[in-house]
Amino acid sequence: MSGPKMKLVLVVAIAGGIGVLGKAIELFPTASNQGYAPEQPILFSHKIHTGDNKIPCLYCHSGAERSRHATVPALNVCMNCHLVVKTESPLIQQVQKAYEEKKPIAWVRVHELPDYVYFPHKRHVAAGVACEACHGDIASMSRVEQKGALTMGWCMECHRGETAPPEVLRRMYPHVQDPHGPVAPVQCSTCHH
């Protein structure tokens, strides 16, 4: 293939690509997965656990305090209670079976950020941001749904203080009557590296 002809092919390919991309953007205005609530391999209800029985989030998601990842609990954490609690339920028996067979459960990921985003749960928990601020009222969800947009703009609004929880604002600006202003860094390198 000669040079100019190839250039033409390239131009057509690029123009076509841009066209398809434009259509996609029109159909799906944001890249957000807001409202995503996939079915899980075991019908686990956050409502029962953290709503009705008031189990603190960090009891199971213990990584949130120590790590970038909140972490989904290992089966041995489930078995801490379910060795004795509700053992007659067929759902719990499913869990017990998996535990005995040493077969981990493959949960479907609900909240997911792109690979180039490094979001630390640890710093947010340490700063006193409530889990609900981003995850919504988990205590009322039988099946977990992505409430927040989890887009960069959505993150930035909070970091700039526009949508920051009042308690965080009050702590950042303790001597101000009506606190507002940035509460967290807004540098690219804060999350992207």
Binding site: R109, P114, C188, H193
Partner: protein
Amino acid sequence: MDKKEDGFVPPRHWIGPEELKASYWSNPEVQAKRGSEFFEKPMDAIARMDTVGLARREFLTVMGASMAMATLACARRPVHKIIPFVVQPEEIVPGVPNHYASTCGECSAGCGTVVKTREGRPIKIEGNPHHEVNRGRLCARGQASLLGLYDPDRLKLPVHQKRGVVPEEMSWEALDAAVVRVLRLSMKDQARVRVLTGAVTSPSLRALLKTFTGAFRQGAHVEYEPLAVESLALGQESSYGSALVPRIMLDKATYVLSFSADFLGTGISPVEHAGDWAKARLSGEGDKARMSKLICFEAPMTVTGANADERFAILPGDELSLALAIVHSLIIGKKIGGIFDPSFLKTLATYTPLRVAKATGIEEIVIHRIAEDLVKHRGASLVLAGGTQPVALHVVVNLLNSILGNEGVTIDGVRDVSLVMSRYAQMYQLVHDMQSGKVDVLITVGVNPVYVIPEEQLPFQAALKRVQTVIRIAPNLDETAHVADYVVPRAHFLESWGDYESRVGLWSVQQPTISPLHGARSCEDTLIAWGHALGVIAATDAHEYVKSYWKEHIYQKQSAVSFEAFWEGVLREGFVKVSKGALYARTFRYPALSGLPEYIGKVALGNGPSGITATLVLTPSHSLFDGRHANNPWLQELPDPITSVTWDNYASISPGFAKTLGVKNDDVIRLNHTHNLAVYVQPGLRDGVLHVALGYGRGAAGKVGTGAGINAFHWVGSRGPAQQQFSGQVVQVEKTGMFYQLASTQWHTATEHRPIINDITLQEYRKDPAAHSETDPELRAETPSIWPEHTYTTYKWGMSIDMTACTGCGACVIACQAENNVPVVGREQVRVSRQMHWIRIDRYYSGAPEHPDVIFQPMLCQHCENAPCETVCPVLATVHDDEGLNVQVYNRCVGTRYCQNNCPYKVRRFNFFDHWKSYEGTMNMVWNPDVTVRTRGIMEKCTFCVQRIADAKDRAKDAGENVHDGQFQTACQQTCPTNAIVFGNRNDAASKVSRLAGSARAFRSLEVLNVKPAISYLTKVRNKPAKEAKA
């Protein structure tokens, strides 16, 4: 270089000798290349792709398909699963790394390591800061050993192959049953069993091998490795009575004289020696400045020679006569007293400095001057010889050290590294036994005899046919495995239990950090499994064996606590130290000198009757060593510190010799009518010398290493059981007219004479610490800025790099690659200047091409205050952050490459392809999960290890304070053996980096551009006579 041709002023620093001629710069081809800044256009590269496998049409198809996929991805996100543990191990928190102390298993140095693991997989190896050998540092090979763990070519199962028949995999049970059957019969029939290993540095493995081979009435352990320092040990034996490797203390030596000893590059313990050597380099400022001196006589250009204050290019084989001429000047010239054996004095009398000077081309005055300096530095000097040099040279070097009073001061006579037991004579005997049918079972581990032994000299492969059972324990199907009956997968050192006696009284433990991939077994585990089945070894695995060995041999020496507490401490610290007392001085045994030959004169060189001949010098490769790392793409792509060539070996010859042969760079020459090699024109070599690196040309290394370069072990000489000869062989050289483009990074970054580096002499520095400011009128040019200044509240990150300390070893390059997920691009892409290294080592010469001075400059993103890249990015993908970092935002980048074009340091790297896809299978486990893996079409560059900054800030915030100086290190700084790199907060006037940036020696590269880099370089100071510096 004040010589002018038509008003042409040659550059003060140059990359290649051609730059010194006006004709080079007026060449239209060069001018065109300069216009494009030595980069190739993408269209040229696409046109080339027909020749490299992926055809242009395919390329467009791939592009179109991935574009369609990219748009679809917007519609539906892929569903990802979270799979937690069933029972989470207590020590593992996903996202939080664990660190384990261990020992590097790549060479005999025994450096302590700290292995960083994430969710159970090792992702980075660093030096153990408390370990006395390497003090937290590692070399490039140590850093890259991580990738060896994930080598996709590793064997998955044992292999059984009837010779000449297609090999087939077998289960571990079947293998053990088959081997144990053979061994049991051997025990009964008194069969002759031999275990051939490389140099053994583990005390417990040595004990294990003794027990194992002792089980057979005719069993023996044969130890041989081609580049083990056999002659050094033999020289020690004849000089002092025992074959050991003494500890040398370069930090106490103010004067170091080296005869082809590459102790900074490929020596016995390069990290330790480079660190010690750097300590004795420049200290103090102004007239109080002190600095050790390094004098080097060598034939090839090595890293050590490049760092020498004075380097003398010699012909291979002249080391001995030069050393004896110096002895002559000392003893017969009455510079030093003493009573010497008359027969030795008679021999010595033939080595008059004048005679030697005439024959070797080294000035007589130099020989006398060195002798005088050695006397001046008595008791604080050090004379060294290369490990592959003849024993006679080692004896003379020992004599020098003894008469100069260095024994017990800069040399500790007690053995340092474990006993060096590797002997070529043993290997020779083994092959002869095999040939005469005296070996029934041969087990080989470590050394790769089929690759390293030249069959014409010692017919190992032919002899192998007479051995009934050949067992190979190896990580992959290498050359020796191909001729074995059974191949046993060998685990990587990161998966194995083991130990090292790094130094007398310093024991290091090697603990596994991951369970063996594909169920491989360590050499120890395999031998124990067989020995246990035979009933000769009580232990059932290496863990138990090593632990009981330590209980018996090491714990007893310090039994203050219970063994379990002691063992736990060892595993936590990685090593244990028992005080060994004062330094030990030995007495030189003069009879050792009786075998020295009388001086006969010049070594045979030059034009022979049958065409042009050259004298060979074979050295270990700086990155692949003896070929053991050949399948490691990081090391294959690490540019050689001297030549910047990647992926191949080549024939280095002097510019003068190249002219004689009528060849230039990349022309192919043929050696002895058999082997073709591309030419690399290397300044600083003597005419007629041809230097080739060993370790290339592997026949069966794996997908990466097989066929890269040619096997130079072919030319290693041997005469009977006597030692092997690594230099001095004369070979026929002929021009072939063929051309092979070496993948060199040399010309990718032409400076065009801008003041990018700086060097001065110690004398100048003593007179005026800021003398370097005068070296170039443009160095300190003050230009007003049109940009507003950045302001910083807490941190302003910056770096300082000491060019006096930098040896150019390349450890930082690999450390950065491992830390920052820097991909490998392959030979073809390096040729078109697309390697991805975030930090590179630029090498410049100055002075005459016959004896150039060398300067190394680590070059990485300068994080400029007025960054030229930031102002041209149309999408703000590269911006300045509030901590002084020039950040690259991958998800914003659209790949215009304007920034790369506008970067005066040429440190930005563009992903022309999805290079990460070249990491197959297990290799993907090496990625650092804290750093984005970059895709095609985006720009990347050094981030000052922003993920480490984030981690340090995270920990500081936990403690409610700011990051303090030295709390964390960047990957390059962390591994630098000579502490050349310092990183820190420039907003803190007390930080080390601020103080260095304000020191008299500091300058900023290309300061004239007013880009205000965050990196300060410290001028290189050379301890050489001032008048020669201007030559």
